[in-house]
């Protein structure tokens, strides 16, 4: 006996994908933003990234931004539901991020887990 069966796979709303933003052509003289996720060795990883980039690019500047949460944030006091949430869910957090982004030319985000 044959069965004609329906697909269990859900449809996904397809929206036109975005293009990447143009890269900076040269990091010399630019400010690289280092955005650290809250997890584990991420802050140390971003410090190493800064140190290593400085060795190669002495004229590059750096600016750090850390997503709240994790070992140096009291969860009960956390200002945003940000540990595993999206920035854009928080107006306040988004505004902080926008302000920080004004001072950088390009960004490296880091996940240390």
């Amino acid at each position: 006996m044959d069965y004609e069966v329906l697909s269990p796979l859900a449809e996904v709303n397809v929206v036109p994908p975005r293009a990447l933003l143009p890269r900076v052509s040269d990091l010399n003289g630019k400010t690289v933003g280092l955005f650290a996720f809250w997890k584990w060795y991420t802050p140390a990883q971003m410090r190493v990234v800064e140190e290593e980039l400085k060795k190669r690019l002495p004229n590059t500047k750096f600016s750090h931004f850390k997503q709240p949460g994790g070992q140096d944030t009291k969860i009960a006091d956390k200002p945003y539901p940000a540990m595993n949430r999206e920035i854009l869910e928080s107006k306040e957090y988004t505004e902080q991020l926008k302000e920080w982004l004004k001072g950088v030319d390009t960004v490296v985000t880091g996940h240390g887990d």
Binding site: M1, D2, Y3, E4, V5, L6, S7, P8, L9, A10, E11, V12, N13, V14, P16, P17, R18, A19, L20, L21, R23, V24, D26, L27, G33, F35, F37, W40, Y41, A44, Q45, R47, V48, V49, E52, L53, R56, Q71, K74, I75, A76, P81, M83, N84, R85, E86, I87, L88, L97, L101, V104, D105, T106, V107, V108, T109, G110, H111, G112, D113
Partner: protein, 442 residues
Amino acid sequence: MCLAYNTAAIELLGKPAVMICNESFVHDAQNGGAKRDLPGLRVVGTTIPQGTHEEAEVIRKGVPVDKIIAALTEALTEEEKAPTVKDIGTPSRIAFKGNIEEVNRFFYRRGWSGGLPIIPPTEEAVKEMLQGTDLPANHVVAKLPPRLGNATVEKIAVNAVMAGALPTHMPVLIAGVQALADHWEWVHVAATLISVAPCWVINGPIRNDLYVDSGRGILSSGLLSNTVIPRAMNLMTRNIAGVFRPGIDAMTWFGHEGTSSLCFAENEEDSPWTPLHVDHGLKKEDSALSLFFVTGSAHVLSPKNSFFDDKMAIDCMTQNVVGNYAGGHGMGGASCLFALTSGSARQFAQYGWTKEKIMNHLLEAGKTAPRADWVKRYEGTWSPPAEGLRLVVAGGSLAYNTAYQLNGGFGGWMTKKVELPKNWPQLIKKYNVLPGYDLKLK
């Protein structure tokens, strides 16, 4: 996954961005970018051993600095400038035609079934399943991340048929989809390395309509509702949420044995306390489903187990709640569920223990119990599990110093009211799910 979303957000806010992560997360990160309309997200994999702490020299060896510079500066490819849609998003409604073995093989090879046999979801079977709801088939109950698949009523019904569910399970499954979509840690659970499984607790009158086991053997009773509800939910996490490929979208190291099997009801009739859904703000006469995420579980037994002693029982529970707390699953408030037999709960109540008193005792005593020293290392870091600690009455009637603990993590509880269709009385009469053999449910 979450950082990939945030990296895509940074591009949306106007700055070019590159994400770095352990090489085992690169696929996951790229999927995350694609889910936020940025399929070209540049991701650089590191070879830093997972579990590294602050050791700068270990990290230094694993950070590919030249690749990071290249990702920041190399001109965009044509595909990155004008990305094309790779996920067409609209699968054919009719998937296949074949005999039962061929259908099962077809579904398994696509990752749609998880290995166990399925009931073929034919048009007729799905139509019958749709009797379990008044919602139209094309109604989108939720979009389930990370794939953001549209959980239409029809797709829920298809997966329900596959799992062996009946139309009377549809209201619970719809509530389950709502709970999964609204649980703030689901995306994290899908992407975590830790072993986590969803646990579904059923409350209210629907427990008895569906004979969801709340008594002896709740976690292995083999009753239909306890079995098919979590299996259907698991199929939906595969086919709607898109979480099933190890190392690509399912990142857990070990997985979890309860991924498609953790579901039980509370024995409200024999409980001296308010039921779980009432603690979560619903009325006692409401039917409800509650979701939390379980890491490990343990049968809490005292050294002397053959008589009830409230102090011994609470001591045993205290030792275990500290274990849970010390386990580090404090993200957003560790969750922890103790199931007490109705006999133990009544004994506790006779000795003057309210539910609140037990939970407060567990939280306070846990801070000074032997394993609390371990916890103190992180004092001020991990939240105590006050937000997530719960007691339910389930698991038979014996009054021993015994409880069952489901250790959680990942952000507490999500409870949804189960909405019943107008023809519910007729449905539960038609679909009798009580086994024909002798059993003692309480």
